[in-house]
């Protein structure tokens, strides 16, 4: 896959670092890199699809909310950056997505039940619940330097292991 010139990669033995402009046109390339890394780490293909969805959702949130055009960051930096660090570790894949935009009130956010949203025909509000459904661990932190990091962890299950079926769609309270 040919990468856009504006995406920078740092490949280290223990991790892959992706730096990309916070723009929607780079999401496909980011997804491709994440999927390739997950496959090489031994993540089963069904779980790769879930990791892809969660990372795409996280990066989309950064672009839309942290770096949205009406925010200070967009005015200060024409192309603010998203940094995605992917670390295969024994038994799990750790992905950290960092931005320097507007902080998200993670502790105060209570996602609505996806079933309720669906039955009401809502078009949005699914993202955080989807990340919880697709990943085994989801957490968010902000540091004093203005960096916001969403941490996603996928346990690498042996091929053939089955995840519980859909139904309990309410994610754990952050």
């Amino acid at each position: 896959m040919k990468l856009p010139d504006k995406i920078r990669l740092t490949v280290q033995p223990e991790k892959l670092l992706i730096r990309a402009p916070g723009m929607g046109c780079h999401l496909a390339a980011i997804r491709g890199l994440v999927c390739d890394t997950a496959r090489r780490a031994g993540v089963p293909e069904d779980d790769v699809a879930q990791v892809e969805l969660a990372v795409d959702e996280a990066c989309s949130n950064v672009i839309e909310h942290a770096y949205g055009v009406d925010h200070q960051w967009h005015r200060q930096e024409h192309t603010p950056e998203i940094c995605i660090e992917i670390r295969p570790e024994p038994g799990r894949l750790v992905i950290e997505i960092t931005d320097h935009g507007r902080r998200f009130d993670w502790a105060g956010y209570r996602p609505q039940d996806m079933q309720v949203l669906m039955q009401a025909g809502k078009t949005n509000g699914y993202g955080v619940s989807i990340m919880h459904r697709c990943m085994d661990e989801v957490s968010y932190r902000s540091d004093a330097n203005g960096a916001n990091t969403l941490r996603l962890v996928k346990y690498i299950k042996p091929h053939g292991a089955v995840r519980p079926a859909a139904g309990a769609d309410q994610p754990p309270v952050p």
């Binding site: 046109c25 999401l27 879930q50 795409d56 078009t123 859909a166």
Partner: protein, 116 residues
């Protein structure tokens, strides 16, 4: 850079949208514009052929929910045809099959519309 290609066909009273590529926050507005144009013309019977859809994000899934609800409110429907297995598993995992109607046969998808 991947985008989505949208091909539109009319099959009687039903509009068939054939998608090729990926639906993410970057490409989704193209589909939203297309569907809103159909709805504005009073065309609420829609089949979306997904056989060449490579990826759909949460915004796309949410849009499908909204289109389904909106079309049914106008005695139509918004049906998904030939959803690839990779995407089908995601839709099932998330429970979206409780609202979205999925078909594997184009004829079955075309049948049963109230606006036919």
């Amino acid at each position: 850079m991947k985008e989505v290609r949208i091909d539109l066909e009319t099959r009687g009273a039903v509009d068939v949208i054939r998608l090729t590529g990926s639906l993410d926050m970057y490409s989704l507005p193209q589909l939203v514009a297309q569907v809103q144009t159909l709805f504005a013309q009073g065309h609420y019977c829609v089949v979306v052929d997904c056989r060449n859809l490579e990826y759909i994000g949460s915004a796309g899934l949410g849009a499908f929910i909204g289109f389904s609800t909106q079309s049914r409110e106008h005695h139509g429907d918004f049906k998904l045809l030939s959803v690839p297995e990779r995407i089908f598993k995601i839709i099932t995992l998330l429970g979206f099959t409780k609202v979205l109607r999925l078909y594997t046969s184009e004829q079955e998808a075309l049948d049963g519309f109230a606006c036919g």
